[in-house]
Amino acid sequence: MNEFVLKVNQVNKTFVGGLFEKDRHVLKNISFSLLTGQTTGFVGSNGAGKTTTIKCLFDFIHPDNGDIHFFGKSLDNQSKTRIGYLPERPYLYEFLTGEEFLKLHWNLCFGSTTPDFIERSQEAFRKVDLVEAKGRRLRTYSKGMLQRVGIAQAILTRPDLLILDEPMSGLDPDGRAMVKDILKEEQKRGVTLFFSSHLLQDMEELCSQLVVINKGQIIYEGNLPSFMSEYQSFEKAFQVLKNKENSRE
């Protein structure tokens, strides 16, 4: 039976302006949910509120009101161990080696380096094709390698839910293909996947569900096939929805 892995209900966020700035209401009654095992794409233009929403999920940004429940309860340490996360720009501790970096995340998750760390870290490095580079400092990694080691830390603990913010942005075609393969592998494992992108191609290839955000408001939530049958083309659908919402304002 499908259960809710994440439920977001009526979340609002306003950034209070400075002396000569207006307050900015950046998230307006955001509501959506994720079911076990589904892959959901979070689409929106740049500045639509994707990253702010994801930051609200982890309480990096405190929402003004609304509820966010992971696995049926508010975010706590137990639910955090079941989530893998990759931020938009994975600036990592560049003074660490790839292996030290994964070890730090393992230790923060489980409190110590348990015996299965070696096996899990090797598996993660193999999946992201960084086995040979794991002993090097992250400072020496290319952008694509940093993105991949970021993904390795996200999948290291075999989480039930993966939240990835623009996992393919800035990558070359090879890098993008590799990230897609990793995500497909995670899908096969039964992971619930939630990732944001403004690249519609990625969504078509990977997602079964879709959440579309525009100017801080959810303008569509539903499954991808019905969305496609209604609008035929992804780009067209996105434009129609955006225009509809903009004209309402």
Binding site: T52, K80, P87, R89, L108, Q153
Partner: protein, 256 residues
């Protein structure tokens, strides 16, 4: 507590790999060398000058680490968003702050011990067994002082830009050293406003003069026990106040 330890260990590793530690040692060693040169000008005061400048070198090194690391410790994590991955793990914001803070404190301890041993050797303290305890007490007082400044600067850096936090920390350090003098001059002036201002500062700024025993005089004469206890209580109190304030502000901060 384990998580605090892992974050502290990573912070210490960062500082060592970023060579901050060695820059601080270099500055302190220059001051030690300078004290030798100055000491050469005097026949009977050479040891006193070496002690004065040596302790000053240790203080500057610890203060430099506290000011620079403290000002950029959290702001860098927030600006580069490196803290996001850490906080997405089962780590609270309080644990994160404590980990970062203890990381820098352990660097200060390492630095204080290294420079302390070096100065101890230069002063030939093994010939004066009774003085070693006082020597350790003086080094400890410098460590406590740097811990207070570190916690203060971290807190300020959550409210203002790092450069401003660094300069505010330095100004408060100077004011903290001058508080008793300020009070003395205020009472001499008999100006009610001046007196109230000086009294007000006593409640807002730690009296760092309490830990100011960094001289050859105290090394010879020893530090009165009750003064040591007062210093410990005073520094610990301010340290805890600043940590609580930092946690309070960081818990409420949006990491945009």
């Amino acid at each position: 507590m384990n998580k605090v330890f892992f974050i502290a260990k990573t912070t210490l590793r960062e500082m060592l790999r970023e060579k901050i530690f060695f820059v601080a040692i270099f500055i302190a060693v220059i001051l030690f060398a300078l004290s030798f040169l100055l000491g050469a000008l005097s026949f009977d005061e050479q040891r006193k000058i070496l002690a004065d400048f040596g302790f000053l070198g240790i203080e500057f090194a610890l203060l430099g680490i506290s000011l620079f690391s403290g000002a950029y410790l959290l702001s860098k994590e927030i600006e580069k968003q490196t803290c996001l991955l850490i906080l997405s793990r089962p780590v609270s914001r309080d644990q994160f702050i404590l980990g970062k803070l203890f990381g820098v404190l352990s660097l200060n301890m390492l630095l204080g011990t290294t420079l302390g041993v070096l100065l101890w050797l230069l002063l030939g303290m093994w010939t004066q067994p009774g003085g070693t305890l006082t020597f350790i007490e003086i080094c400890l007082s410098l460590l406590f002082e740097s811990a207070v400044i570190l916690a203060l600067v971290i807190w300020i850096s959550l409210v203002v830009r790092p450069v401003l936090a660094l300069s505010s920390g330095f100004v408060i350090y100077l004011l903290g050293q001058w508080l008793p003098d300020l009070m003395f001059f205020a009472e001499k002036s008999k100006d009610a406003l001046f007196i109230n201002l000086a009294k007000g500062l006593h409640w807002l700024i730690p009296n760092l003069y309490r830990s100011n025993w960094k001289s050859g005089y105290f090394l010879e004469k020893g530090i009165p026990r009750e003064n040591m206890i007062w210093m410990l209580g005073h520094m610990l109190g301010w340290f805890l106040i600043y940590i609580l304030l930092t946690n309070f502000f960081f818990r409420r901060k949006d990491i945009v």
